[in-house]
Symmetry: none
Subunit: 403 residues, 2 copies
């Protein structure tokens, strides 16, 4: 199904998106995907789970590429399929394949195939179902007159999981790709802006954008000419050096995992303030058991001593958040687990526990290898959740740069 519409609209449906409960992030994800294919999003409309509001938004969108998120689930307030059918002037039909799949899902889990589940096998006639790899409600794609309509679940994980199928169905693929994205770690947004200024000045015809990721900052350039993009990417990679950990959608945890896999090396973790987040990140990809065996969460000093043989005197002389403790944790963890590398983390996530000398956000990270140990101090922002997230990124990056 080729897409001729080069303008898109996004309609996000859900009461929770209008009462402050849930931050609407799906449209941002779709925008970023469409940017790769030069498709402009003309408008985003967020409406309630309400028939007339959804209908108005569809009417306003008209003959465009229309993405609708939300309202595909089993509950009574999920009405997207009914409203789209009425808008398109087509009946509702049952998709036999989806129905069989949903019945199997229920049988596998020992659930009754109830009304709400059955509802998810309904499609406006003419739509094609895309099997949801994460949840139960399928995605749907269809053309009605000049409009191309894509229905997607509102749960971000399900929407993301379905996206590759949408790309394939709309024939949005590599050959159309008109952008590149480099993912960086360890650089702030202003710093990245400075470092890329000369390249951006040289390639004024490209559209440049950047945004925060959980690892750092991504930079993306879009334009019509692949040769120009290639050339800009090469220069940019030189400017940014080893701050670039990947291009495209690859996560830092995947980059590090692949490096470990390729080199046949293993890693263990010794975590204090992150309390398991580094281990969780190292195992977010399938197959991670080839390089990750385990670790110690040593949140208290007693456990640092008991499980990682950190000498008590180090706490007295230097404090738990120090070069010496991070180094001891990493080296002893590597010995204990018999791995090639060990990562240790000790920091003050806050909001309490900071001092003038060691303010909230102060973190020491160490990577122990055979015969060496790299230890580095970081000062993250004084916001507990973001500080812990940046600590994970810095820890994985320290290992990456060590390999």
């Amino acid at each position: 199904m080729e897409v001729s519409n080069l303008n898109a609209r996004i309609i996000a449906i859900g009461d929770e998106l209008l009462c402050g409960r849930t931050l609407e992030t799906n449209s941002n994800f779709i925008q970023r995907q469409l940017l790769k294919y030069g498709i402009d999003v003309e408008r985003v409309t967020v409406v309630h789970d309400n028939k007339s509001d959804i209908m108005s938004a569809l009417d306003e969108a008209g003959q465009q590429l229309i993405f609708v998120t939300g309202g595909l689930g089993p509950t009574p307030d999920d009405m997207t399929v009914d409203v789209v059918a009425e808008w398109a002037g087509v009946p509702i039909v049952i998709d036999q394949t989806v129905e069989a799949d949903l019945k199997k899902r229920c049988a596998d889990r020992g659930f009754e195939y109830h009304f709400g589940m059955a509802k998810q096998a309904k499609l406006p006639q003419g739509m094609k179902a895309l099997k949801n790899p994460v949840g139960s409600a399928p995605g749907q794609v269809g053309k009605f007159g000049g409009a191309t309509v894509v229905l997607l679940p509102g749960v971000p994980a399900e929407m993301h999981g379905l996206w590759p199928l949408v790309e394939a169905e709309l024939e949005l693929s590599g050959s159309n790709s008109k952008s590149f994205r480099l993912r960086t770690v360890g650089l702030s947004e202003p710093k990245l802006s400075d470092m890329t200024e000369s390249v951006r000045d040289k390639y004024l015809d490209l559209v440049w954008s950047w945004w925060l990721s959980k690892w750092g900052v991504d930079v993306q350039a879009s334009g019509p000419d692949p040769a120009v993009l290639d050339s800009a990417e090469k220069i940019l990679r030189t400017e940014l050096g080893d701050s670039v950990f990947a291009s495209g959608e690859t996560e830092l945890s995947q980059t590090v995992g692949e490096m470990l896999l390729e080199s046949g090396k293993t890693v263990a973790v010794a975590e204090s303030c992150t309390a398991g987040m580094v281990g969780a990140a190292l195992t977010d990809s399938p197959g991670s058991s080839a390089y990750f065996t385990g670790g110690v969460i040593s949140y208290s000093n007693e456990i640092k001593t008991q499980e990682l043989a950190v000498p008590e005197q180090l706490f007295i002389d230097h404090g738990a958040v120090s070069y010496e403790v991070a180094k001891s944790m990493a080296i002893n963890c590597r010995d204990k687990f018999g791995t090639d590398y060990a990562i240790s983390v000790t920091g003050i996530s806050g909001p309490d526990g900071g001092t003038a000398e060691k303010p909230v956000g102060t973190t020491w990270i160490a990577v122990a290898a055979a015969g060496s140990c790299t230890v580095k101090r970081f000062r993250f922002i004084a916001h507990r959740a973001r500080s812990r997230e940046l600590t994970v990124a810095a820890a994985l990056n320290l290992l990456r740069l060590q390999m």
Copy 2:
């Protein structure tokens, strides 16, 4: 200026909000503020810095309370004031107080009072300027026919800074909550729908909504009468029983953390497939060091034996994902860390490693306490990230129900 309109619309203006560059968060902020006053946001519309798009959005909004964010700055693409004046059919005027203030700002900083700065003293006739405590562009409030229009800067910090002045100007006061929200864990969305059906049928005048969280499903009811809401909440709590872990915004990790704090108990973790995620969740709140000391990430069987003394024979007889191994991990972890409780997790996150008997998503979770150990089997969906997230929720919940 009293507000008679009880429905609001939010129009967010900015090219950066439609190309994936900037996540639009202002409307979420405004929604949360308005919820306190029982004002429903009917729709959010995000449009480009483009006259006809802004005009359409204003026309569609009609006679309501309209919040417009963005497009108030000094650059040529900032055109909100001009478009609003044209839409309202009023001329543009210069606000003398704002002009004097802007001139002073420039003088203080040694800048020339340039065209872009002067532009920010312009208002549609009839609007009142609200001094921006953070940046230069003032907020603006005015009535045109039945519509109340509020113009706010797009930069979140400026918008937040101006909000108290907007509240005062619109005479929004007397915080009066008109909804309740119950947060559940362990119930699917269809199950929750079934369980709440009789209450919803009894209270048809309330607006019911529910949505997924990382812990489970939340259900919310809104309505004008606090007594009716109280009564509905009581019945609902009885129906849902111990599936309700909190009301409002409280996270499951906070509920569990508070229970541990109050009882003076401690907990440790022994994690296989989640590889640290349970430890990370237990420490996401400040002060968690009072109840969490640490744990073992035992991703490989060797580490389960080496660090948690799980007998090798158990792997041979039952496999790593089994009742016996989960139980052994929990009991031995509790002994090793000397805590009141220990949580263990062992499961198949996938996408590989599943069998007919133990399909991907099969997970055993155990909670060891003094003289007892609760062990439970779960079957999560075959999606690695979501399955791991649900595992964390189930693990924390098993501890909660044990306490």
